[in-house]
Amino acid sequence: MPFTAWSKIVKDPVTIKDPLNREAAPRYRGFHDNDVDECIGCGTCEAICENEAIDLVPVDGIETKDGDSGLRPKIDYGRCCWCALCVDICTTNSLRLTNEYTWVDTDPDNFRFVPGVDEKDWYEKEDGWRKPVPNYHFYGQERVEMEELPAEARGDSFIEFVKGYSKDQAQQEADRCVECGICIGTCPAHMGIPEYIKTIRNDDMEEGLKILYDTNPLPEICGRICTHKCEDVCSVGINGDPLSIRWLKRYIADQVPSEQYHEILDTQKIFKGDTKIAILGSGPAGLSTAYYLSLLGHNVTIFEKLEKAGGMMRYGIPEYRLPYDQIDKDVDYILSLGVEIKYNTDVDAKMFKKLESDFDAVFISTGLHAGRSTRIPGSDHKHVFQSIDLLRQITAGEEIMVPEKVVIIGGGNVAMDITRSMARLQKIKYGKVQTLATSLESEEEMPADREEVVEAREEGAIIDPGWGPKEIEIVDGKIKGLHVVKVLSVFDEDHRFNPKFDEDNKKFFDADMVVESIGQAPDLSYISDELKEKLELGPRGRYLLNEYNQTSVEWLFAGGDIVVGPDVIHGIADGHKAAVGIDNFLHNKKK
């Protein structure tokens, strides 16, 4: 066919006249862009890059804070192969590739740049490679549900209702971790969270326990009731459920019997020196300080006001959340390191003065054991109780008043604890629950953990937030109920506590008994006036502490709820700091 070769001679040329301005396909993998405000610098892009083309670098104007490493990815186009795995795994979906595909530059250094920070022409392009459609994930998005006893089964008993993970469940949950370590920075005790989660994947519980005890001598306790700041910032939680870090910690601690602790943690033999330290209060801060100080070879004596150790962990948190045998497991191990504890010893000002001469240093962590009152009319009635007193009495096994109708004022976790405890006691006594909790804060603002509110409702308690208590009505010496008015706002523009009410919108809650749970205060009466004068005050009227929790009186250290919190993990973090501070102090004193 001789003319076949000529058949296209009259056709237009097929080449594109201006290839540089040809628009690439909407999905084209061109050059990187990063929404630096969305990005948290978790570094999963760096972890998955097969060419090691990505480095996380500090960037001007982006501060390190909780949930943000302060770093941003820097891409090296000498190494990048544009596979976009970095985009596909991005936990925040902030990283993308635009569909720009030509870039001419004479300076080779420009080809290493921080997307979203260094100015580039292609950021305005909307198209480009983004993470594909839903159901395309590089790690599990959904949390492995923790099994709990149903409300019917747990409502009339103080038995622990969270069942704990099985091995399969724990490993499945641990698999979701991307090991970014954002959680480490946020955890007050800076626990090695990705490392101990890794030991679950490797089924190496002994290694896991070692990692836990490096930073936290109360893993059974924290594995149950930690306020888990880590989970709030978990990068996996940005587009899915955050990892159940708390339950995974509990899983490790639950797997190892206490008899093996000494062997695994290598504490059969600890050399003790001649230094003596007194600790006031055996709550998390006191126990944690005692633990690290005894490992450092100091002789520690704890003075505990109550019958058993644990402080608020035992006498504040109900048994259904934190069983006593689990507290004993953690506490007994710390005491077994040679820590002396004096129970039922209430240290007063006189005794405290003696401690100064008998011991080389004193650490105070006496917690917040005094309840705060609303001071509304009627709140001085004998059937108006402080939640913290009731919780202590329940733990101590004392008989408390359980009427048919109870109203609780407060929206925090302690309020939920007493609400759920009262609900249980009512269920046991009357077979039905008539407990109501009300708070100033609205449903969204309530400081209590969401799950606490949900579970309290499951157990039959009524939570009616957004009401301000006005008066407790008393007829013939008996409480009739609580008058409340609608709250318009709790905080003012400056985020200061300044509630505003709608006085016309009223409500009345029937009650035979009212429990106040609006916060606790410290009792520092053991500090003499003479000593008080020497102690410098810091912001908000608290004693000024240095980075090692040392007060301006050099032998006196402080920690726990009287300083920060209130929660367990901050207390443990204080323990780290105070133990190092006391050790340094004694070391320098010897010289």
Binding site: M1, P26, R27, A84, N135, F138, G140, V178
Partner: protein
């Protein structure tokens, strides 16, 4: 002694012997023979490969293939990367049809980790589509390219233009033109964009037209016929001896096609019959490829018609950052444009493969077979013979 790896003792007398043919006593000092090196950098050689020719006048009397100019250690690189990181490296092992490497890596990891059943239906069809598109773009270059070796360059220009249109479709579907990085362990990385099928159909119609024109241009061309007929003939007896696969085997009547012999993905749901010819020469092989061009266009149409409208594209898999695969080994193969293309994959329970070994058809075609076929050929036909075997040096030395 029984070979512990193979489980039997191979009969070595039946294997082709490299020394037998070199045994010809070629006395270079006689000035009767001359050595010519074709490559490693020569525009007529596919990739970086050298053929050491000993010629007597215009006739090749001995040929030796030299490789090693391109070695990048990709298999080893993959062995040092996580399972999910393997595929961007693997595609470089064969530039002509990179998707085949992606498919092999993905399928090996899926099989060994037990996720092969979890790959969604949609992903399987899309994998097939991308593999057939890869075959099509390879043939659009390969079929007219055979004419190019006989100085018939026009067909190549037509073909490369149409190939670019297919690359446009790849760009839409996968986000890249050549290194698509589309098939990932567990599925694929994107659904069909809106209007993709219509645009694809437009391109396929252009290709239909091209197929008719190239038939007239090449196969009715007397020069092409004269030079390609009878040249570098492969006989059916040689097929097993040399391990010849794909269109090279089908060109001499041995019907081998992994898509039919051991159907993978959904090839058993497609209606096709691999074309064959009986002559076994270059003309026959090119003719088989031309027929395969028609068939591939038809297969793409069938796939687009039969694939589901929507569905998941990726299975739920473990976290890619610490995905560990239990100890095991597998060999996965597929039918690439050049023939059976397989990967041997060993895992040892860690998060990285223990051994990755690619078995490409070019290893036998470009070394053992080519060296023998070149003997007696004209120097001017060396390129044609090499191209007709579809040699691809990157897949020989991974």
């Amino acid at each position: 002694m029984i070979n512990k790896f193979l489980g039997f003792e191979p009969d070595k007398s039946k294997l082709p012997s490299a020394t037998a043919k070199i045994g010809a006593d070629l006395d270079l000092s006689s000035h009767k023979y001359q050595k010519i090196w074709l490559g490693p950098n020569h525009p007529g050689v596919t990739g970086n490969m050298a053929i050491e020719l000993t010629v007597e006048g215009n006739t090749v009397v001995n040929a030796k293939t030299h490789v090693g100019y391109l070695h990048r250690g990709f298999e080893k690189l993959i062995e040092r990367r996580l399972y999910v990181q393997g595929f961007p490296t693997s595609i470089r092992m064969c530039v002509a049809e990179p998707d085949t490497n992606e498919y092999l890596i993905a399928t090996c990891t899926e099989q060994l980790s037990g996720y092969d059943k979890a790959v969604p239906e949609m992903a399987k069809w899309l994998r097939m589509l991308s593999l057939e598109m890869a075959r099509l773009q390879g043939l659009l270059r390969g079929v007219p390219g055979q004419g190019g070796t006989f100085a018939l360059g026009l067909g190549v220009q037509w073909g490369v233009y149409l190939r670019d249109l297919i690359l446009d479709r790849f760009e839409e579907l996968t986000g890249a033109r050549v290194y698509h990085m589309y098939i990932i362990p567990g599925g694929v990385r994107g659904l069909l964009p809106d209007g993709f099928k219509e645009r694809m159909e437009d391109n396929l119609m252009d290709i239909d037209d091209f197929i008719i024109r190239i038939r007239k241009l090449m196969f009715h061309n007397s020069v092409f016929k004269t030079r390609a007929k009878g040249l570098a003939r492969i006989t059916p007896e040689m097929v097993d001896k040399y391990g010849i696969v794909g269109t090279n085997a089908r060109g001499c009547g041995v019907k081998r096609d992994v898509r039919k012999d051991e159907p993978y993905l959904h090839y058993d749901k497609l209606d096709f019959d691999p074309p064959t010819d009986s002559d076994g020469d270059i003309y026959a092989r090119t003719w088989v490829r031309w027929q395969e061009l028609i068939q591939t266009v038809d297969l793409i149409r069938q796939i687009m018609a039969k694939m589901p409208a929507k569905g998941d594209i990726k299975a739920q898999m473990p976290n890619v950052l610490h995905w560990q695969i239990p100890k095991g080994e597998t060999y996965v193969r597929l039918e690439s444009g050049r023939g059976e293309y397989g990967m041997y994959y060993v895992t040892d329970g860690t998060d990285k493969p223990r051994r990755v070994n690619l078995r490409g058809p070019s290893y036998t075609h470009a070394i053992a077979l080519l060296e023998d076929l070149l003997v007696g050929a004209d120097v001017a036909d060396v390129h044609a013979i090499m191209v007709s075997l579809q040699t691809c040096p990157p897949e020989i030395e991974r």
